[in-house]
């Protein structure tokens, strides 16, 4: 099992903490899904000294690994500053690095991402970069010091699932030893299963659970779906073939080639 900067997760679900109807429902979603990691945004809540403390305490009380993020940062400088604030508040070197390149689609600015990843890695951070499935960008992120890659499935909040299966599959094949996380775009449990079937190590999602009519039930569904995909991938699935494969020999019929 691939580890995340030395940490082995006992559950492949990384769950966001935004957009829930209430903190109580968020806590229930974590308890029910047994998500191993909570991502938390600091950009807005942290704009004034410690004013978000009460909410951060609720997240600390979840007793899971905390992965602060730089959501909402549009420049290298903002992202680096936010990461430093996060390290101080949550006492962790983990940082989910987002450098947004486009306000509307929330696509990552991969150039700024690589630069920020280098700065933060040199500063002792353990960076989880939110990136695309581009292999060259991924290489550069690894050279910059990242030991985890988090390609998107689809744009943030879109719920479209895995948009580029081929790209994600080649990423998995290309970086066989690197822990890979699908970050963003998951809408349904089946999307989460598909990610695990591709051999990804974890899935990070937020909106799909938080904005479901019943967030706790959706969190449970996601956890089950991830477990199913993971078990399926571990079980060495059969190779698909074009023809039906009768389990008893068909004697006396012509073979089709």
């Amino acid at each position: 099992m691939r580890s995340f900067y030395g940490v082995t997760l006992d559950n492949p679900l990384m769950l966001g903490t935004a957009l829930y109807p209430s903190p109580a429902i968020m806590a229930d979603a974590f308890a029910t899904s047994k998500a191993a990691v909570a991502t938390v945004s600091l950009r807005r809540e942290g704009s004034v000294d410690q004013a978000g403390q009460d909410f951060w305490n609720i997240i600390r009380d979840l007793s899971v690994h905390i992965l602060p993020n730089t959501a909402g940062c549009h420049s290298v400088k903002e992202a680096v500053t936010t990461a430093h604030m996060a390290r101080e508040i949550f006492n962790t070197n983990w940082i989910k690095l987002e450098v947004i390149g486009h306000t509307d689609t929330l696509q990552p600015d991969v150039f700024g991402l690589v630069e920020a990843a280098r700065i933060l890695s040199q500063d002792g951070f353990q960076v989880f970069p939110y990136t695309t499935e581009d292999l060259v960008v991924a290489e550069k992120l690894l050279h910059a010091g990242c030991e985890v890659l988090m390609p998107w499935g689809a744009p943030i909040g879109s719920g479209q699932g895995l948009n580029n299966i081929l790209g994600l599959r080649s990423m998995r094949a290309h970086f066989a030893d690197v822990p890979l996380v699908i970050d963003a775009g998951i809408g349904l449990p089946s999307h989460a299963t598909a990610a695990m079937e591709l051999g990804f190590d974890a899935v990070l999602l937020n909106t799909a659970v938080a904005k479901a009519g019943d967030p706790v039930e959706m969190a449970r569904a996601m956890a089950l779906a991830l477990a199913a995909g993971q078990a399926g991938a571990n079980a060495d699935p059969m190779e698909p073939r074009d023809m039906a494969a009768p389990s008893t020999p068909v004697i006396g019929k012509a073979f089709l080639e």
Binding site: L19, S22, P23, G52, G157, K211
Partner: protein, 324 residues
């Protein structure tokens, strides 16, 4: 004879004082300031009495108890307008309307013609919306001023000097009660009051968006309340540039004429909320606390007041009762 001291003359305290007085109880009410004003969270409220719309993200008790709010406010004030509420989404966010309608009840789907009839100023801008006919809105500052006046004419004036010992203390201080209630937290809200005499709207309009839903409530005379952000922070000092941009962009997208509006006021405060975002009545060291109205001050303060009064008069623990 029920004889109580209420601390805090915001929407929670004033509703409770009104309710107890109406039931023949004897009330003294205390606040830092003799008049409701900027120091109170409810001063900045939107004043939507929209239980069905709130059901999109709020829990069932909010929808149920919220339905009695408009009648309570009508009984005690003349601040209520019953014109329903209209929910709209911009072009590419129309899937939000589908989701919203699935999560709510008490509404009808309306087409462009109906929207144009309801709100002629929006004519031609929206092809689909949701109309919650039975909902209402009120003018928060008028409503609170009227409650204060009614209480005064019953001999109950808001006092600023509180004696050290007061009988049967009921704490309605909102977020200030955090000194006693550890799991109370602030949820920052930012709002603007605009004047735009060119625009006439008859009812609150909600504009759906996956991340930044906003609403506009008409206050009459070309004045509108534009709100409100929801940020997990107890900062109540200033609005951020981003919040202001988001609010104004949404207003402008709803109706470009808002670009010409004057900004009369900028409001910032923090809503008092418990972890489940539902109100609570609880007792600690001989003090009763009625708190946690979150974003539902005017919608749930009447129910919270009635339940607190029920407890005082009968001793029965009401629905919002919380054991420590």
């Amino acid at each position: 004879m029920v004889d109580v001291s209420i601390i805090g003359a915001g929407v929670a305290g004033l509703c409770l004082a009104t309710e107890i007085t109406a039931r023949g109880g004897n009330v003294a009410i205390y606040d830092r300031e003799p008049q409701i004003g900027e120091h109170a969270c409810s001063w900045w409220a939107g004043g939507m009495l929209a239980p069905f719309c709130e059901g999109e993200s709020a829990e069932e008790p909010v929808v149920r108890h919220g339905q009695t709010a408009a009648a309570w406010w009508e009984k005690h004030t003349s601040s209520v307008t019953r014109n329903g509420s209209l929910v709209l989404a911009l072009g590419r966010d129309t899937s939000e309307l589908t989701r919203f309608s699935r999560r709510t009840s008490g509404m009808e789907t309306v087409n462009a013609d109906v929207i144009d009839t309801l709100e002629p100023d929006l004519s031609g801008r929206f092809s689909k919306g949701l109309f919650f006919k039975s909902e209402a809105h009120l003018s928060p500052r008028d409503a609170l001023a009227q409650l204060t006046k009614n209480l005064q004419s019953n001999g109950v004036a808001v006092q600023t000097d509180m004696p050290d010992t007061t009988p049967n203390r009921i704490d309605c201080r909102g977020l200030s009660a955090k000194d006693a209630l550890q799991d109370l937290r602030g949820v920052k809200g930012e709002m603007l009051i605009l004047r735009c005499p060119d625009i006439t709207l008859s009812r609150p309009i909600r504009l759906l968006h996956p991340r930044i839903p906003i609403y506009i409530v008409p206050r009459g005379d070309g004045v509108f309340m534009l709100g409100a952000t929801m940020i997990e922070s107890q900062d109540r000092n200033r609005i951020t540039a981003r919040s202001m941009l988001e609010l104004l962009s949404a207003a402008y997208a709803l109706l470009p004429a808002f670009g010409e509006a004057e900004i009369l006021e900028i409001g910032v405060d923090a809503r008092p909320a418990f972890p489940d975002n539902l109100p609570r009545i609880q007792q600690r060291d001989g003090v009763i606390y009625a708190n946690g109205l979150y974003r539902h001050g005017f919608l749930l303060a009447p129910a919270l007041a009635q339940m607190t009064a029920d407890y005082l008069f009968t001793g029965n623990k009401p629905e919002f009762w919380h054991e420590n």
